[in-house]
Symmetry: C2
Subunit: 332 residues, 2 copies
């Protein structure tokens, strides 16, 4: 693969100007470009510039609003609703997070629900942004069906990701951000191309039978939730939190409403913050540090997110797929 | 197995009088007996009278306080802390739940943390009790280490259960209550006895190697989290919520502090309630009913908890292990 070296700032600039030249205003372009460049900074390339063509398609089709002005609704002192005005989620998250943080610091717990926005990124930016204020962050969202509930043979859930961050003052937080699908669709595609077998329980073939053949899962088959019926229960919970409690589309509704322009589908997001300072009280950090230090010192353990944190420290240019860079430039 | 038929009321009476004659006061005995008889009513026998000898051992050793008077602390309007006064969790839960429900109905979200109590039951009673008020309930707790984090070879997590209930007005809620261990210790014991193989990923042998031999897992081996590294992340989150955020023992602390009397270990519990009426607003129930109805109508799908709900409807006597009934009577 031919690559183009770009600094994180250059990645930001490329994304920003591409969004601006396709009709975004400054606020919307800057927020999305921050999210995209942060992903490339951390080596999370599947959520970096790779997503930009999808953003652009949804602007060009008129589905996404590049001039979105998120509207804040204080439902209660502990519950904030943000209408994304059909824009991209990064701006709504940037507007809503400070309000969520303030509420959780006062009340010990608070919820931010986001409606009418297009989420096309990872979830760690929101939960890490909350943990930076010494709060616990939890976030989840849904998109369109590609995962069969355990026992069923048809897609109904999206990959239904959930992210969690627990603050570690002076350190990077404990953080995970995971799909509840057994495997990412992209990874199954790679296994199919390379002739690799999948573990049993990752997918079904087109007839709904369990298979280890990646090709059969990839072509007409369906992905399963991680961890069998237990993972399927977690995926159900995520639909109910991110769509039911938020009052926006369940996965099947998002697919029905989408114009299939290749960009993200509209949907909601559920974000929560909790204060260990208030709930656990004095000494909370020493207590959880003892737990996390014991955990990370166990033989064979590597806490999630470590590769991203290590990448974050590097100030060398990132190597970006040259074809992708050319494609993005052609959109400008 | 020889059984003794007992009505749910007779089960309650047996548990109540056994607790009273071992030093519980009325409030503590009644709350624990309600939890035990509700489990037998629902056919959840592993959380029914089977647990009573453990309760009694912890009373007789002086570890558990049969006269506990839970103390309420209103940390904020959205956060209630309950000190269990070293009693059994059921009384603390009964005292705390109405306060949690009131707070969530006002603020949209609220948290109840329970400290210094002995949890020896399932988690569905608390989340179903919350869902009965048309609120979403989430609960989790930890006890003592018996599960190795993914990648490690030594026990560090307890079975770390999590329960979730989403209200369905006029119906039983959508509810799950699951350990994050790949399999219950009791089920592995049964497989070992009967010479059944375990799926790969359920446990390690005494040398820390993956095995499908139930005997090797049961005798000196260790259980793994469900769903590999993703389930292990969920188990970590539960330690951080139920111990870190609550300010009570992590699993390894609970084991260090326990007197090994065969009863439950002291610990904390994290309980949360959320209001779909406030967060999602008008129409929330029709919206989530459409999702849940589609899900339960899919071929091959059975929502969790259905067997318990069916058992609950029966007013015939429950068949209780006769040896267990005799053992309980010998404690009186």
């Amino acid at each position: 693969m031919s690559t183009t070296p770009l600094t994180v700032q250059e990645i930001y600039d490329l994304a920003y100007h591409c969004l601006i030249s396709n009709g975004c205003d400054d606020a919307n372009a800057a927020a999305a470009a921050r999210t995209i460049s942060a992903a490339e900074r951390d080596g999370a390339v599947s959520h970096g510039l790779f997503r930009l063509p999808g953003y652009i398609k949804s602007l060009r089709s008129g589905k996404a609003n590049g001039h979105a002005q998120p509207k804040i609704e204080h439902l209660t002192p502990a519950a904030i609703r943000l209408d994304g005005d059909n824009g991209y989620a990064p701006l709504a998250i940037e507007v809503g997070t400070p309000l969520l943080v303030d509420a959780a610091k006062k009340l010990g717990v608070a919820v931010l629900t986001i409606r009418n926005s297009f989420h096309f990124a990872a979830l760690w930016p929101e939960v890490e942004g909350i943990a930076a204020h010494n709060l616990v962050g939890i976030a989840c969202t849904v998109h369109t069906p590609m995962v069969a509930p355990f026992g069923a043979k048809k897609p109904f859930f999206s990959t239904n990701p959930i992210a969690f961050a627990y603050p570690r003052p002076g350190k990077n937080p404990y953080v995970f951000d995971m799909a509840t699908a057994a495997k990412a669709r992209g990874d199954i595609g790679v296994a199919a191309r390379d002739g690799h077998e999948l573990p049993l329980g990752v997918g079904l073939d087109a007839d709904g039978n369990p298979t280890t053949d990646a090709k059969k899962v990839h072509q007409g088959g369906v992905i399963l939730p991680f961890g069998g019926y237990k993972g399927s229960a977690i995926a159900t919970m995520i639909e109910l939190l991110a769509a039911g409690l938020v009052g926006d589309y369940f996965s099947y509704e998002a697919a029905e409403a989408d114009n299939k322009d290749g960009g993200p589908a509209r949907g909601g997001e559920f974000i929560m913050a909790l204060s260990p300072e208030i709930l656990a009280g004095f000494g909370w950090s020493d207590h959880s540090e003892d737990f996390l230090t014991r955990l990370e010192n166990m033989d064979g353990i590597r806490l999630p997110g470590q590769r991203r944190f290590a990448n974050r420290e590097s100030d060398t240019p990132r190597q970006i797929n040259a074809t992708l860079v050319e494609q993005i430039k052609s959109f400008m």
